[in-house]
């Protein structure tokens, strides 16, 4: 008999730091500030933390770097590195560790200065030898290949992908923390510089600085903290490949498995979800994940996002912070999905606050459409 993790853990603190540009500060400095902000939000002190979860593009041993910097001696730690989805995996790992009594206060944290440090995506990702001669410029080459296939197979258009970027910008325009604000039209996206056909600069996520952290405790302790707890109702993971060459079908991601697993654990269905937070490193991601997570049929994602359906005022609220496309993307974005979900579920999202929001889906994507991790969060109303 297995024991479900549904509702057994809750996020009781969130924090960010250095959003956008943080000149003169290192990645771990930004991470530490975010961590302290999250602990303050949870009404906790550093000395309460006995679980550390982190991934990094700059630290080979992230949990030791974090522990040393903050002076932590954790009894449990996990540095699972699956790219930008790592932090959704950490949420699942933390839930397991808390449930097993291996730690009581889990701090999940990330920070990067990759905009002000160089302005380019920083990655420790090793080249794949069988790809090397062809000078792929990952990650964009991999995502452009997937987009080319989706267009070929389903008739998806660049204008439909542009809808994703325009919707993200419209949300960002209501978020004071968003880095890219201001008007953006379909034509602006279509006429922006082509980087890797069919993806132009406006189909690509930002490169920003930024740090984020969240504090997770057991559900039976969650009400001891100042802010309303946000419960983890379900999480599921799936991975099928490393190199884009071995992805079985470029139009179907492992989100089709991770999402189903998360919904099953949470005992929820798509129509229960009020907010959908999808890892939008490129515009095609949003379309693929809406399909693979069951919000529309396979191949219909391009048409689904048309007519402002995922923009403010649309039928489905997607990426209400502005996403990786317009809010923040410091190399790995996964933790920021959780920050926005908790902010919305706490009803602290200001101008962009959704009226009805009790369940949020966070979907992390890592590598070249490789690792997919879905988490479902809720207020106590859905527990």
């Amino acid at each position: 008999m297995t024991r479900s993790l549904r509702g057994q853990s809750a996020i009781v603190g969130i924090g960010t730091a250095g959003m956008g540009e943080a000149p003169g500060r290192s990645g771990i400095e930004i991470l530490a500030e975010a961590g302290l902000n999250a602990l303050g939000d949870a009404g906790l002190r550093l000395s309460d933390v006995d679980g550390v979860f982190s991934a990094s593009s700059a630290h080979a041993f992230p949990t030791t770097s974090v522990g040393e910097y903050l002076g932590l001696k954790p009894s449990f730690f996990d540095g699972t590195m699956v790219g930008g989805a790592s932090f959704e995996m950490h949420l699942l790992q933390a839930a397991m560790a808390l449930d097993a009594g291996l730690c009581k206060v889990a701090l999940i944290c990330y920070g990067s200065n990759q905009r002000t440090a160089g302005g380019r995506l920083v990655s420790m990702s090793e080249p794949q030898w069988h790809e090397t001669p062809y000078q792929a410029r990952h990650p964009i080459t991999a995502y452009a290949l997937a987009a080319s296939r989706h267009m070929h197979q389903f008739g998806t258009t660049r204008a439909q992908m542009a809808e994703v970027a325009v919707a993200a910008r419209a949300w960002a325009n209501m978020n004071p923390d968003a880095f890219a604000r201001g008007p953006l039209s379909i034509d602006d996206v279509l006429s922006s510089r082509m980087v890797s056909d069919p993806l132009s600069t406006r189909d690509c996520c930002l490169v920003t600085d930024g740090g984020a952290a969240c504090v997770v405790v057991r559900a039976d302790r969650a009400k001891d903290h100042p802010k309303p707890p946000i419960y983890l109702l379900g999480a599921g993971a799936a991975q099928w490949h490393r190199s884009i060459v071995t992805m079985p079908d470029l139009t179907v991601t492992a989100a089709s498995e991770s999402g189903a697993r998360a919904f099953q654990m949470a005992k929820l269905k798509q129509s229960d979800v009020d907010l959908v937070m999808l890892y939008d490193a490129f515009t095609i991601n949003t379309i693929l994940f809406l399909e693979d997570l069951g919000f529309c049929p396979k191949g219909e994602g391009g048409r689904f996002v048309g007519g402002g359906r995922i923009a403010p005022g649309g039928e489905l609220a997607v990426n209400t912070n502005g996403g990786g496309l317009s809010c923040v993307h410091p190399g790995m974005y996964g933790l920021f999905l959780i920050i926005e979900a908790v902010t919305q579920l706490r009803r602290q999202a200001g101008e962009r606050q959704l009226k009805k929001v009790d369940v949020a889906l966070c979907h992390g994507n890592g590598g070249h459409l490789a690792t997919q991790i879905t988490a479902l969060l809720s207020t106590s109303a859905t527990l």
């Binding site: 030898w129 001669p133 410029r137 080319s148 070929h152 056909d197 884009i244 060459v245 470029l250």
Partner: protein, 135 residues
């Protein structure tokens, strides 16, 4: 001695792993891929076993060299533009490559392999064989 396409080459160079063996064949001007002798399954990129099912009875076969473009992009950089394609070989495996002498081609285009130096190392590239047929 060179085998005819489709004929197995049972032995590679002693001591070389599949990655080094593939590269050594390329350096000799041969595009070789692996096949399980017992099940007939092909694999690419070269490995020590068929992924998922684990057959280790792999022999090297000269690829027929015919394939179909599955996906393609054009990288547009300051230093120039070049395409990166995924090509499905007729043997049923997929590889990354470049379609040479064209900026880009339609998905579904039939292509034929040859070996040419790319950035200082021998690599499999493809020429357009016939105009695109969507599939």
């Amino acid at each position: 001695m060179k085998n005819a396409p489709g004929q197995p080459t049972p032995t590679g160079q002693a001591g070389l792993g599949p990655e080094a063996q593939f590269q050594a064949f390329l350096a000799e001007g041969r595009f070789m891929i692996q096949r399980s002798a017992s099940t007939g399954k092909f694999v690419f990129f070269p490995r020590v076993a068929i992924p998922g099912s684990g057959e280790t009875d792999l022999e090297w076969i000269e690829a027929k060299g015919l394939g179909t473009v599955y996906a393609i992009t054009v990288n547009r950089a300051r230093e120039g533009s070049w395409n990166v394609a995924l090509v499905d070989l007729d043997e049923g495996v997929r590889m990354m490559s470049r379609i040479v002498n064209v900026e880009t081609v339609a998905i579904g285009t039939r292509v034929k392999a040859r070996i040419e130096p790319l950035n200082g190392q021998p690599a499999v590239v493809f020429d357009v064989l016939s105009p695109g047929v969507a599939r």
